[in-house]
Subunit: 144 residues, 2 copies
Amino acid sequence: VDVEGAPNRLRTLPSWLLGQLSARAREVTAQVLGVHGLHRSQYALLAALAEFGPQSQAALAERSGLDRSDVVTWIDELAERRLLSRQRDPADRRRNLISLSPDGRRLVGRLDKELAGAQDRLLAALPERDRRQLVALLSRALIG
Amino acid sequence: VDVEGAPNRLRTLPSWLLGQLSARAREVTAQVLGVHGLHRSQYALLAALAEFGPQSQAALAERSGLDRSDVVTWIDELAERRLLSRQRDPADRRRNLISLSPDGRRLVGRLDKELAGAQDRLLAALPERDRRQLVALLSRALIG
DNA sequence: CTCATCTCAGGCTGACTGAGATCT
DNA sequence: CAGATCTCAGTCGGCCTGAGATGA
C-alpha cells in the first residue's frame, strides 16, 4: 500500500495509520513464525507460559488475549509437537494444566531473537530512540 | 483485553502493541461509521473522492488501499444511496467514472468531525502533543 | 443447583485469488 | 495481439457465539 498517495484525511488519521502499520506488522511476524510452523497466536501462548509458568487454558486465554475456544486448537497443535504438555490439574480436575516443555522453552528463546529482527525490519525507518518512543506512546494509549 | 496482565514479551513488542491498539481503533471508527450505515472501507472511498475528484474504480482502489474486487461492492451501495454516481468514462469506456454527489460531500464533512471525536476517545490517555508525536512516528515508519 | 472449565460446531467479516467480459 | 478495467464467484484466516460435557 502506498501511504504517500493516500488522501490527507486518511494519512493524518491515527486509526488509519495504526491499521496500515499493524497490517505490515502482521506480515513480518507471520513470516518469521511461519518458518517454524507457528501461528502468531501460538507465540502468544508460549510467551505467557514462559513468563507465568504452568497454568490453565482459561488463564492462558486471558493473558494472551485470545479466545478460549481458539486456545483449544492452538494448544492441540503445540502439544502434538511436544512444545508443551497438557495434563489434568489434580487440584481441580476441570482444568488442563499446560506446561512448557524443554523444547518449547528453547524455541521461545529462538523466536525472541527472530521476532526482534522482524521489529527491526518493520521499523527500519525509525532510529532506536524513536522506536522506544513509539513503544512508550502505544503502551500509554493502551493502558491509560 | 487487559494489556497490563500480558507477558512482557508481548507488552514490549511493537508489532503486538500495534495490533492491540489497531483493534481498538477499528472498534471506535466502525461504531461511528455504523451510525451512518457505512463501512470503514466506504469512508476511505469517499475520502479519496473528496480529495482527488472524479476518478476510476482502479484509481480509487489504489488510493484508498482497498482491493479492486471489493471496491465494486462498496461502490454499489454508495451509488444506491446516491452518495456518488457511477458512469462510463466517455474517454475510455473500460472505466467507470465515480463522482461524489452533493449529499456525499456533505456526509464526508460530517464524518470528518465524528471521526475526529473517535480519535479523541481512542487516544484519550495521550495529551495533544503526544498524539501528534504518535502520528508523526507512524507516518515515518510507513513511508521511510 | 450454580458456576467454571474445556471442547466442538458453526457464523461472520475482511482480505484476497482467479476467471471471464469488455474495451484500448 | 497484449494489456487495462470491471465484475463475480469463491477461498481463507482471524475472531466470535452458543451449546454440551465434565467437574468444583
